[in-house]
Symmetry: C2
DNA sequence: AATAGTATTGACCACATTGGTCGACTGTGT
DNA sequence: ACACAGTCGACCAATGTGGTCAATACTATT
């Protein structure tokens, strides 16, 4: 990547980032097509290779960008002084949603990277990813108030159960709007619905 | 598909079915490669088109086969006289696991079909799929004993919460054994672990 | 052993798509 | 009028596509 790309107006830059993330997320690195990316981004083929040396450079740039964003916009926003586990999970979902509005495929893109073969990825990026994981665990579990939970339950297992439940809700929402553009959906009713579910979780898992 | 394929010994037939389901599940119909399928199945290119007229016929056969199996091996095995919702969910997971042992990609294959564009699929198959959905709802929710649940909760929401939790556990297991062959894993310890989680669900959602 | 018929292979085909290049063109500022 | 950064898409060799088919290997019957 070169400074030409950075000097683009944000709208065009984001169009390219989103097109590329979508393609890489759906197809993986090898099968992702630069032709599809430029078409989706609405730019000429030449421009992509004017901004980025080659396909690999583009991929690494997106990883860098995505990992930075996950660190800054999700983890650094989590307030570990709130000792309520479910509230903290709720905050994480909210932050993910914020990112989702601007970069609808970023979460999935980073997710697929986490499961992919990382042997050809530069150390710098792998290190950043490992830092993210470490910080993620910290932000999720540090300073949680165990006394909120029912005493007859294994709290570690309850953590898992709550996480799975929230993941399930997110998947449900994604499936529900499978074909629609997320930016055109009013999310407030679903935020309310989500909060209803969290209230149940608190009622059953907390004492 | 012709009778030549049906007359194959089961081992070879299953090798081809599994190879094809894996490829279609991972890549979708268009991007799935018949070359990759024959390579994975360990047969010559010619044989695939000796058994099946073309790629599309193969795909439709797999859908037929998979939908039939889901109906016979999962839904028809569910005992609706057991009125315990969590137990019934447990049975469904067990049946899925049985299929998984023999056809590791079938569940995902059918799952991707459910989300895909079905406009070019023959009516016969679409009908079978719709029957599966209808029967699925019936088998999952009919004759459930509502009185088992805590009275201060919205039971419909609790259904959802329990389903998401179980899905989450399944995803966790899949991620845990991401690269290993499922057939080589002793699943009994995980069945126990799963039952521990279900016990918690019963304790918190039932009265 | 000879024959017939079936099962199996992989080189081969025309075509589509790939990552990447480059000469032509546009627009802007001086 | 000139320079120059930005933009495009036709083009390239390479690879991969679904599908064919002549050549073989195998099996059973005579």
């Amino acid at each position: 990547m070169n400074d030409k790309f950075l000097k683009l107006d944000q709208e065009k830059r984001d169009r390219i980032i989103n097109a590329a993330m979508q393609e890489f997320a759906e197809q993986g690195y090898d099968k992702a097509s630069t032709n599809k990316i430029v078409k989706q981004a609405g730019i000429g083929k030449g421009m992509l290779f004017y901004y980025f040396e080659n396909k690999q450079t583009l991929y690494h740039y997106l990883l860098d960008y995505g990992l930075d964003m996950a660190l800054d916009k999700i983890l650094n926003e989590i307030d570990t002084s709130d000792r309520d586990f479910i509230e903290r999970m709720y905050k994480i979902v909210e932050q993910k949603l914020e990112i989702f509005k601007k970069y609808p495929d970023m979460i999935v893109f980073i997710g697929t990277f986490m499961l992919s073969d990382q042997s050809n990825i530069p150390d710098r990026i792998v290190n950043k990813y490992e830092e993210l994981q470490k910080k993620g665990l910290e932000k999720a579990y540090k300073n949680i108030d165990y006394s909120l939970f029912r005493e007859d339950l294994d709290v570690e297992k309850v953590f898992k159960l709550i996480e799975w439940t929230i993941d399930g809700y997110q998947n449900e929402i994604k499936a529900r709007f499978h074909n629609q553009k997320f930016s055109e959906i009013d999310l407030d009713p679903y935020r309310q619905e989500f909060y209803d579910y969290l209230a149940i979780l608190k009622r059953v898992y907390y004492q």
